[in-house]
Amino acid sequence: MTDIIIKNLPILVVICPLMMSLIVVLIPYNFLSWVITLSTTFITFIFSLLLYQEVYLHTSISYALGNWAPPLGIEYVIDKVSIVPIIIISLISFITTIFSSKIMPAEINSSSISKVYSLWLLAIAGLIGLVTTGDAFNLFVFLEISSLASVALVAMGGQKDKQGLVAAYNYLVLGAVGATLYVIGVGLLYGITGTLNLADLSKRIAEINDNKALIAGFGFMIIGIMVKAAVFPLHIWLPRAYAYAPSAVSVLLAATATKASLYILARILFSVFDISDTLIINTLQYVILPLSILAMFAGTIMAIFEKDIKRLLAHSSIAQIGYITLAFAIGTKASVAAGFIHLFNHALIKGALFMAITSMSFYINKRITINNLSGLGREMPITFVCFVICSLSLAGIPLTAGFISKLYIIKASISADGIWIAMLILASSALSVVYLWKMIEALWFHEGPKNLLIKENSLVYIPLLIITFLNIYFGLDASLVVNSSFEASEQLLGARK
């Protein structure tokens, strides 16, 4: 039995949530469906840890679906690169599932809870599948599975606030346009090379030089993925989708959804195409780099003027995605590794911040704006402390995970002779202190409503504590994340240079 599990791990991390989502939809008891979801995400997490171990034993695992050998069959590839997002997604989804137990029934009609959990697992399966698959078209399928499931989840927010529906609609339309653009790109590349397997594709692309269809295909793919990854200025679906989704869904999406797409972006840029190619160099330098810098500032400035806290955090996510793409755009091994470090750390930070805010809105049963934050920190000390720690982590204050990622991004940019980039990064993170501080000040120093009599619920704050602890832990002992990320970038770029 263990053999079978070990052998089939790459597919198990995908089909475990996928199959369970079909079972959960049939369960009429809400609590039971939560228990099944929880155990599924837990098992998936265990599987992904086992995968981590396996990957470091064998450097990379290729799994041929249906025993059809690649490049003809669909191949699932787990290497040191893809394991990073897999761990992120499975870890965060497990923690958020614990968190959702109390939050979900407060916002969703009890008749649709099992459906929500089914979609929840489907979204997770889609995201993990997106990362695992080594086939360009299969990737599209998972892209759509995850985004359709996420759209449906966001639309569930419409039960409480009608804006959730519009958010879901925008997400759907833009997501579909993005996915279709990606498919056009894949089609063009398939037309030129005759293969869909990503590894094979990269080999054949290397043999072709100067083909206009190749450039067009590359452009379509990148734009499509950039829509999904919410890279500025293709981010407009994101703030609303995160802000008006049901609270637990916001946490899940904020921490994981864009991460998988960012990973795909890196994979296409560095692994499918050749980093030393002028096409890629120009794209990085003249497209992604300026856009990332704009994203850093636009996101932060929008966040500063935003009054609705969930939207504020979503705007800040755009800025943080900017950091990650910026790191990719610099294009050295160290910078890509830094991008992966921030990918991981940002998932932890944003997950925790959304968790803290949603638990506050759960306790006072209102949408959180900057005005009704007043004095809440005193009423719910545990949530507040976690919120402060993770805010510090977001701002990149030492001894937190956020500091480590910022340190490496800056170091990479200085090493690549981009001290002005480093200054811009730091300027934008100093600006981010403004909105974080605004919230903390309101939470602690402003006078709030009296007699709230809030009793913090352990099922709500324990996941928050776990994720906050991880934020501190990975700030104090970052070697695991740092080493894995460096291995990942080595594998991604090493073959090329």
Binding site: I4, N8, I11, I15, L18, M19, L22, I23, V25, L26, Y63, A64, L65, G66, N67
Partner: protein, 143 residues
């Protein structure tokens, strides 16, 4: 609409052949054009036609929502189940070869079951979509 005899009788006559045709497309998929997707849609069209002509309530009596949901999930589970079965038999996910005594027999069994699962899911998704949209109009009006 149930006062219109032509439609009613035509529906009653057509209902069985549609399903039969669906089954044909489903099971002939191994040897010629066809398969689960197409068959599923054809299958669903029979029930949708019935519900259009006789009304949504009657349609739901014929094909209740919970059965619809159950079959929908069942199709997917069947698909995945085949994959898991091949996995338990020591091969990769969805390797049909090990399912039968010979490779060819295994392929046959595998593709049949998988296509059946696809057919089930597609037809039920179609019906579910129809129910959802049709039902929505009603609940909107009662508001």
């Amino acid at each position: 609409m149930d006062k219109n005899p032509i439609l009613r009788i035509a529906t009653k006559i057509l209902f069985a052949p549609i399903i039969l045709f669906g089954l044909y497309v489903q099971f002939h998929g191994d040897f010629g054009p066809g398969g689960g997707f197409q068959a599923g849609v054809i299958f669903a069209s029979a029930f949708i036609l019935y519900a259009i002509v006789f009304g949504l309530e009657k349609g739901k009596e014929l094909f209740p929502l919970n059965i619809n949901l159950f079959l929908l999930a069942l199709g997917g589970i069947l698909y995945g189940g085949v994959g898991i079965a091949s996995m338990l038999l020591g091969e990769e996910f969805l390797s049909y070869n090990v399912l039968g005594t010979s490779n060819q027999a295994g392929q046959h069994i595998g593709i049949l079951l998988v296509e059946f699962g696809v057919g089930l899911t597609v037809s039920n998704v179609m019906i579910a979509l129809f129910y959802a949209f049709a039902d929505f109009k009603r609940s909107g009006e009662t508001k």
